[in-house]
Amino acid sequence: MSLSTLLLALLVLSSLAFYLGRKKALSAAGSNLRTLHSLPNYYGYYLALWAGIPALAVFTLWLVLEPQIVQSLVVGGLPEAQRNLSPGRLGLLINDIRNLASGNIVSREVAPGLQEAADHYVRLRDTSRIALFVAVLALAVAGLTFGRQRIRANLRARNQVETVLKAFLIVGSTVAVLTTAGIVFSLVFEAGRFFVAVSPAEFLFGTEWSPQIALRKDQVGAQGAFGAVPLFAGTLLISVIAMCVAMPVGLMSAIYMAEYAPPKLRTVIKPILEILAGIPTVVYGFFAALTVAPFFRDTGAAVGLTISSESALAAGIVMGIMIIPFVSSLSDDVINAVPRAMREGSYGLGATQSETIRKVIIPAALPGIVGGFLLAISRAIGETMIVVMAAGLTANMTINPFHAVTTITVQIVTLLIGDQEFDSPKTLAAFALGLVLFLITLVLNIGALRIVKKYREQYE
């Protein structure tokens, strides 16, 4: 019998418990259902929970602890000499025992001692499984019996079931929150290790980025420089170019859609704009690298400008196109949220449509539009694929959009691609960069949400 059979059995038992609980409640109520505190189904759920939860808890706990216990018992049965091996080699030995037990290929000749240990391992595991089956099923039946005894007409089953449901929901949201906290913690922790090797001041204010360092002691290699300013500058440059594209285009299309477009046209244009947001960024990436960047290079050559084939300009413009839907759809929303009364007030004074838009609607919607811009910027800063493909890898300190620049995200990718050792500053630098990126986008997002929220309150 496998573990899934056991789970299935538990499920069947719980369903049975539901049925029994309901029946017991009905018989306890007698002829008058109103004497029951809760609806009959709640008694069913109540009993199903009694049958399922304790058994499931033991089941989970058992599976978590079993390998540890079995392993320590197997090690205890090994000969003295093997027990005193270094932790690393002992680990290898245990691995072999496990492989042998499950019929996999092992890394050494099968000695009789090893075979014996493997047999021991298999026996222990089998015993554990049987014990698990017995324990879980017994617990389920015990829970069922116990719960069933407690069912009376005046049992507050609904309240108890709902308390348990609430607990489930809390557990669910806690998992989400803890995962986020865990990611942040690991970022901070690894970045901390990086800052032991490289001082934060050098990282934040150094102007040279060259993360190549010697892997072996005898290797001839650059010492490595971790001044991240060129990356910040490159990120900023590309984001600024992107916003120069996305802001006017997005805002103008939003104004057109909200104020001028006839409803029929609007129902066509809006989804098309939103398709832009659905294009995978990797597609934008090769569009930038293979179409836009060569086009700029050739155009530049034709008019006597030197534009490198991986330029900040190409990456920035394509990124700008990518975030147009963010700007336009958020701006469209806030423009639509400006009350009709504002428009009528302005028209009533003899203002034309464009005067009304420029002097009343845009100023009224401005906080919301700014919030939308900030969200779009934070999206641009975190964007990776386009810049990896189109912006280049060289950490130039430049504000010339015709040159290749690199960004925080690109460097994180290049630092972590391929086989890496996880204790060299080169690899750890990625975590420090990630932390910086996280903090920037966090601040931008919080700022944007605050502004948007404040704006919403203005008209409510």
């Binding site: 009364a341 009533g348 004074l349 203005q458």
Partner: protein, 269 residues
């Protein structure tokens, strides 16, 4: 003095006062297929307050919004008949809606100051129409308008604060000042007091009476007491037709139509 054809369901207004500001004849309004107004003929006189009363949905606001072509903004809205402002057809091609609205100002049901400073709210219209030659003149216009709207004393120390920060009654007076600042001939008011408390309402009513000296005023109201208090002439609308029109006193003391009688005595509406 008044010729009335109430029995046909149509009222023609032929008051004997000098040239009316607005002369409207056989005005019909359609929203798509639905007809909202049928053959309304009414004159609006200078230096008088004309009130339009009637139950909800009777078409009085629709009529009001014809007078400065605010119905243009609504999709599928169509207006027929003739509406003459000083003898000029406002729906003809030669009438620029911007100029029309400069001559016919409007105050709305809910105070709707722009999210700008008090000064900018009032200066908005004059700026658009290029009324003021320079900053000094603009300031004079703003002060003058606020003065006429009876708001100057309350706001003169905080002209740069947002207009949205004022109380409801103050906001509505700000909107009136905003409309006056364009120096219109007619002011349309669409239930201007329905969002205000009784004290603010009394203040606005007082103001309307003062403004009559300079403008022709048309006010749509749900309150018959208000119509009786502020207006000299009254038109009663019902189901898209103008049932009866005449001097306010006559309408409220001696209505000729049964429906008017029923409405003002509270039997329906």
């Amino acid at each position: 003095m008044i010729a009335m054809q109430a029995t046909t369901g149509r009222a023609t207004d032929a008051a004997a006062s000098p040239v009316p500001a607005f002369m409207t004849r056989d005005v019909c309004v359609f929203y798509g297929q639905k007809q909202a107004l049928t053959n309304v003929s009414l004159d609006i006189h200078r230096n008088q307050v004309t009130s339009l009363i009637g139950p909800s949905g009777c078409g009085k606001s629709t009529y009001l919004r014809c007078l400065n072509r605010m119905n243009d903004i609504i999709d599928g809205c169509r207006v027929t008949g003739s509406i003459l402002l000083d003898g000029q057809d406002i729906y003809s091609g030669s009438m620029d809606v911007v100029h029309l609205r400069a001559r016919v100002g409007m105050v709305f049901q809910k105070p709707n100051p722009f999210p700008k400073s008090i000064f900018e709210n009032v200066a908005y219209g004059p700026r658009i129409h290029g009324i003021a030659k320079d900053k000094t003149e603009l300031e004079a216009i703003v002060h003058n308008s606020l003065e006429k709207a009876g708001l100057l004393a309350e706001v003169k120390d905080r002209m740069d604060q947002p207009g949205t920060g004022l109380s409801g009654g103050q906001q509505q007076r700000l909107c009136i000042a905003r409309a006056i600042a364009v120096q219109p001939e007619v002011i349309l008011m669409d239930e201007p007091c329905s969002a205000l408390d009784p004290i603010a309402t009394a203040r606005i009513e007082e103001l309307i009476d003062e403004l009559r000296e300079h403008f022709a005023i048309v006010i749509v109201t749900h309150s018959m007491q208000q119509a009786a208090r502020v207006s000299q002439r009254t038109g009663f609308f019902h189901l898209g037709i103008l049932v009866e029109t005449g001097d306010t006193e006559q309408i409220f003391t001696n209505p000729r139509d049964k429906r008017t009688q029923d409405y003002i005595t509270g039997r329906f509406g």
